[in-house]
Each structure stands twice: as C-alpha cells, then as structure tokens.
Symmetry: C2
Subunit: 316 residues, 2 copies
C-alpha cells in the first residue's frame, strides 16, 4: 500500500517569535522565512495581525509580508484573532495567502486569550471568511485547547464536533485542531480526529491540520496517531521554538525537523529537504540567544553515521 503524502507547516516565526522578549529584527525574520521557503514546507506562518500592544514582537507584520520573497506553491499564513485582524490583513499591500483565525474550545481559555464568549467568537467567523475571500485570501480557523484546557481540564468531544460544524457552516477553508498546552495523548488524538474526519469528511488533504505542542514529550507520538486517523497536515516549529506560559522551562511546539526526520525514517513523503530544514533550525539559537529544544539539530538525522572515536580505534 503506498504511504500517504504528508504536508508540513512551520509556525516558528509566529508562534515561536511572538513570545520573545527582545524584538527580532524584521530583516532577520525575512531572511529566515526566505530560507524556510526553499525547504519544501507546505505552509509558513509568518506573522500575526494582532494589536502591537498585545504582541509587540510581531508589530512588523506589514514589513515582514512586504519583505519576503514568495515561492510559488508555498502558502504564507498570518494569524488573526478577530475581524479587526482580517480587516488589517486585507488592507495591507503584500497580503498573506491565508489567514488563520483563532478561538478556544474551552470558555475560560477563550476569554483569557481573546476576551470573548464562544457565541461572540463564532458570530464573527462568517464575516471573517467573507472579508478574507473578498481580499483574495483563504480563511482557516484554529481551535485552541481542543485536547484539553490548562484551566478547565478535559474538553468534551461533542464540544469539538460542534465547533467544527460551526466553522464549516461559516465557510472556512481549513480547520486546525490545536493542543495548545501539550495535554493531548496518542489514544485521544486518534479517537477524536477519527470522529471529526468521519463526521465531517475533509474536502482535500490539507483541510484538517493538527497543531501539537511537546510540553509533556508526547508531540511526535501524537503525530503518528493523527496520521493513523487520516490527518495529512501537521504544524511544527523549527528548533522546537515556542513555549508554554504555564510550564516554565518546558518545551513548546513540536519541532518541525524532528517531525520530518521521523516521518522520513517511517517512509513518508513530506516534500521537505531535511538538511535544509536543519540548517534553518541551527540558525535559531543565535537569533533567540539561547539553546533550543530541537533534538535532530544536535544529533543529526537518524542515519548519519559517525566515525569510531579515536580512543576506541585500537580495539577495532
């Protein structure tokens, strides 16, 4: 049986850089995105249209979008928290190809993150889709805390199915199920995503995306579970950049190049040039000024063999 083609997206420049205290120069962002564009990634989330007061790290959204070199076939994505974000993205000169709206499956997290009830959030989605489409952009929605909420704990499967149904009714072009704080486990991922895909079959291979964090070390196991359930599109962050506000010292997003290394070892076609991706990841520690959680950037690809250490050579 031929193995399915998988689609890999990187969110480091948005999800990773957004929590950096020191502002990362626009030119550095642009240069890293341009290097990522040559790796074979399906999508790159490059910035957010959010209040620069709330997220000063991404206040240069317009400049980043104007500065990058677009590679045909790569989808350039910007995050938007609300209608205002969509309007601002539509008004910019160099528009993103796709907008990624966010809301949270748990009420407490939705209020804490975007200051809205579920009804207020859902009521905005049809207009967000319309404005995005009128401006020539696709509009997807991300559902945070799909697999658990750091404030409320478990989130019911029925609630997730209702959100997916509402997003579909609003005409979204894609849905991302996000494990915002690394609470998902492989059994849960396989069961829930299987239900979603059976109830609401995807119109194409990249309609559903899984977005995992590695906060408790389960991230790559969840990717394998998601593939088993039929998902073909996965977010990661080069160098494992990102973080979890409730777990100081814990890792954030799953690491894109660790994921690609695993998927290639498993025989999947990802379209990604692993060596180029690792080269991008190896730039990140210098950019953020600290060590990053990525493993393959330190250990090398699985099948990169090593010389026998000099101290042992006499035995061999």
């Amino acid at each position: 049986m031929p193995k399915p083609r998988l689609y890999i997206n990187d969110v480091a420049v948005r999800d990773g850089f957004q929590i950096e205290k020191a502002f990362i120069p626009t030119a550095t962002k642009v240069s890293l995105i341009d290097e990522l564009s040559a790796t074979g990634l399906a999508k790159i989330e490059v910035t957010s249209f959010v209040s620069p007061k709330a997220v000063p790290a991404l206040a240069d959204a317009n400049e980043v979008l104007a500065g990058i070199e677009r590679v045909p076939g790569v989808v350039y994505v910007a995050l938007v928290p609300n209608i205002r974000g969509v309007q601002n993205a539509a008004a910019t000169g160099a528009k993103p190809d796709e907008l990624n709206g966010v809301m949270s499956a748990s009420l407490t997290h939705n209020r804490a993150n975007i200051n809205r009830t579920h009804e207020e959030s859902l009521a905005e989605v049809p207009a967000m889709v319309r404005i995005a489409h009128e401006a020539g952009m696709t509009m997807s929605m991300s559902l945070s805390t799909t697999f658990g909420c750091p404030f409320e704990g478990p989130v019911s499967e029925d609630a997730i199915l209702r959100f997916v149904e509402a997003f579909l009714a609003a005409g979204v072009d894609g849905i991302s199920l996000a494990d915002t704080t690394g609470m998902a486990n492989p059994r849960q991922v396989e069961a829930l995503t299987r239900k979603v895909l059976e109830r609401f079959p995807p119109r194409d291979e990249t309609f559903y995306t899984l977005h995992f964090h590695n906060t408790r070390g389960m991230g790559l196991a969840n990717v394998v579970a998601g593939i088993a359930a039929g998902v073909r599109s996965f977010d990661g962050s080069i160098a494992g950049l990102g973080g979890c506000p409730f777990a100081p010292g814990a890792t954030g997003n799953i690491c894109t190049e660790d994921m690609v290394n695993m998927l290639q070892d498993m025989g999947y076609e990802t379209g990604v040039d692993l060596d180029r991706l690792i080269a991008c990841a190896r730039r990140v520690p210098a950019i953020v000024g600290r060590d990053t959680p990525g493993q393959v950037m330190k250990a090398g690809p699985s099948l990169e063999t090593h010389a026998v250490p000099e101290s042992l050579k006499e035995r061999i």
Copy 2:
C-alpha cells in the same frame, strides 16, 4: 477490550549516572533508589559490575547494593558486560536480583563498547546464565544497536532474530532490545518487535523489554509502537537522565515519568504512582548540577489544571 498491564523500569542510577563526571556519593544513590522503590516500578537498574577504571562513576556497586532497602516485588538489576562481571556480582554480599548482560547487534559497536567479536560475546552467554543461576540471580541480555548503529547505520532484522535465537538457546531469562543512540522510528519498532514476538513468543509479560533513547525526539512514539506490537515492559530514566556520546547536547534515555504520564493518559495501568515518580525526578537536577530533559517534571501531569493568571482575571 481491557488494556494490557504495562511494566515500567528505571535505569537512571546506572545508565544516567554512569556518564556523570563528578562522582555521585553512594548515600545519594542509595537514597534515590530507596525513593524509587516506593513508586511502583517493576525493575530498577541500580549499578554495574564493570571495571572501576572504565566506569569510575559506578565503582561503588557493592556498597550501593548493600545500602539499599529492598522492597518486595521490585526487581533490582545490575548491568554486566561479561563473565567477569557475573562472577563479581555472584561474589558480592548483597546480590542483585537480576543481571543484565550487554552486547551490540553491530560488530563495530560491539568491539568499541565491550571489545569483543559477536562470536566471543555469544560464546560467554551460557556460562553467564549458569553462574548467575547458581548464585540465585536471573540473567537477561540487552542487545544494543538493535534499531541502528551510529557507526554502521541500519542493522538487518535477520541479524536481530539470530541474536534473539542465540540468547534463548543460552537460556536467558529476558531479552532487552535497545535503541542505544535514538535511531529507531515507530514503523521500524512495530515491524521488528512484531517479528521477534511472533517467531519467539515470550514466556511471560516481562520477557521482552524495549529500551529507547530520545536522541531524536521519537522515544515516546516508539513506546506506543512497541505496545502495539505486544511488548509490555519498557525502560526509562527519571528526569530523562542519560546522554549520547555522539550527540553533544542531545537527550539520552526516554524520560520515565514522561512515559508514565502518557501511558496513564492513554488509560494503561502501569502500577506506578506518577506523583511520587515526579518527586524523584525533581531531585535529579540538584544531584547532577544541571537542568535535565524531562518535561512532566517541569510542566506537571497533563490534567493538573492551573489558575487563570491575575493579569487576565478581569476579562473572566
């Protein structure tokens, strides 16, 4: 369908501490092992009978074994690289319950690690089993580089099956398949261990053990794959202690409490008290004098909820 009971072993005091440059005091080792004994682990690998010149960090094998308090039901294991190690373990006053012999599936690694050809290594196993049994200890064998060799690359499945057959012919009490440098991927783990278990069915649930490293982030995904193939016994290292000599900065063994957290979330019974295990892991950074790769020790168990941050409370 009831979920299978799983058996969790910790190797931090041996596999982790053996590479520490500063000698960890015997009393610290004993106190940590005693605390681990109360967590519900199936086995604890507490030391090695190796040349104190080769591994000075574990030169206190006799003292550690004499100092710990044995908890009924917990199997205390010591690693032995050869017949001399078995003889030394048999001669000590407070013997381990089980010895774990090691050899490598790849010739280059076997020569580099224990300075023997495969024939020389295999020829010793029957005598190791006999001496261990005469001294009232069980004797298991670990096969390093089962899933790949850092010098040679891939190792053939047929080679692994031949080693397993030879170990069984020698009368071993258990076999551990070890991914010494984190090269295994989930597809490979499921395929190879399924072949081993079908060809040589285990005589009990803990006959086969999988020993993974997380060098490339795939460790917990490999555990899930191993369970699917029918393995029930898994090694880990609290706090993710351990390392890989060919990957400076990369993690070593998979983290025991991260594994237990995942397995409990998935609904498996491990017999392990996760909170107590996390308490043990949280002692480790102070003991080794640096941060350790474990995630759950930083983030807490998946379903430990958090208070809403003060700064967000007015919104809720």
